[in-house]
Symmetry: C2
Subunit: 227 residues, 2 copies
């Protein structure tokens, strides 16, 4: 562990439950760059703890004197600050193509996931976070957690439909970026790891190409990430 | 025009109407490689005309002694046969990322488009193709052309929803591949050009970032493609 590199990482009631899709992007990006970091468990309502970053969301990375928030800004920072470590993006053209995968993940995959996961997440977070979480998510999604939970089967079906292009891609290649993972893999992995950490039912069959890819991502980074 | 390079290109009743999304991929790929080709208008039922290719679909490229069908196989062939011309894929990592964009285009974008366009295409194709087209598309989609046309507004809405990740990506960069287009751009452009060539109503506003990107693709290749 580097004493000077710290990452505020969203945690559940169990401080070892780390489920934020955006924090997972950053943890994989740090592993990709070969950079150790101490992860600090953080709860949704601990806004004061990260007030020094000038905003209210994790991930927040402290790297020596530098403070960076927002997973995309952190990835850009790491790429610029550690140019001799393996590239996160694979050059300007691959980086540009990664933006489409990011937008698809944020707007399609993670949107499908949030409709499945939010009721389950409510049951896993610290009790002090529950009122905030319920209020903010019900306002954002325009539905109560209980009504959302009652629609679970239809949201699971929608998620499976949206996974189709990812699944067929990963039938033909080991990682999204080819033989080894890049940040595009981290982005999509973050969403599905969020699902694996919080869903009350498995989202993927063990023999799904997406499941095999997730295992391969974890194997690739090995002990350098906390699974 | 190269007398020895020919591309069989799907045409409507008007032989100058060239609308196949897969033929557009190939025409842009040829332009990208700086390779002139004579395009031969081909109708759906002219299976005998391309029997020499060993299959029944266009695009079919004749390049000297070589015959290649299937747009993906053609792109791979062009990249291998013309390594000194600009790369279609931008290296192995960008090429792998392109596969996700291809699978999204084939399985999401073009599927949304087909539900909008098929009734319009029926009215634009050669009369000799209409019985074949109706029968094959009604069997594939499980609905009559007339019933599909009656659902147009909902399929237009679905198309707009599916375009969201493309639109937000193109708000932030000139091409999917960055400052200049690559085959990932050709793949997605093909689908939307298919829409532009055949839809009875405009699919995109003129100030849509997707419209601006389409114009930029056409400008980039200039007179080397038939618009």
């Amino acid at each position: 562990m580097s004493a000077s590199r710290k990452l505020y990482d969203l945690a559940g009631a169990d401080p070892d439950l780390r489920f934020s899709p955006y924090c997972w992007r950053t943890k994989l990006a740090l592993a990709h760059k070969g950079l150790a970091a101490e992860t600090i468990p953080w709860r949704f309502t601990e806004k004061e703890e990260i007030a020094f970053s000038g905003q209210k969301l994790v991930p927040v990375l402290i790297d020596g004197e530098k403070v960076v928030s927002d997973s995309q800004a952190i990835a850009e920072y790491l790429e610029a600050a550690y140019p001799d470590a393996p590239s996160l993006f694979g050059g300007p053209q691959a980086k540009a193509l990664t933006q489409f995968i990011r937008r698809w993940t944020d707007g399609v995959l993670n949107l499908a996931l949030v409709h499945v996961l939010v009721p389950d997440i409510f049951n896993l977070i610290h009790p002090k976070d529950q009122a905030y979480f319920r209020e903010s998510r019900e306002a954002r999604l325009g539905i109560t957690l209980e009504a959302l939970a009652a629609q679970r089967s239809q949201h699971l079906a929608s998620l499976q439909a949206q996974l189709a292009p990812l699944r067929v891609t990963l039938k033909g290649q080991k990682f999204l970026a080819g033989d080894t993972p890049l940040y595009a893999d981290h982005i999509v992995f973050g969403g599905l790891q969020w699902g694996r950490k919080t869903s009350s039912t498995p989202l993927l069959e063990a023999d799904d190409p997406i499941s095999r890819w997730m295992e391969n991502v974890l194997l690739y980074y090995g002990d350098s990430i906390q699974r």
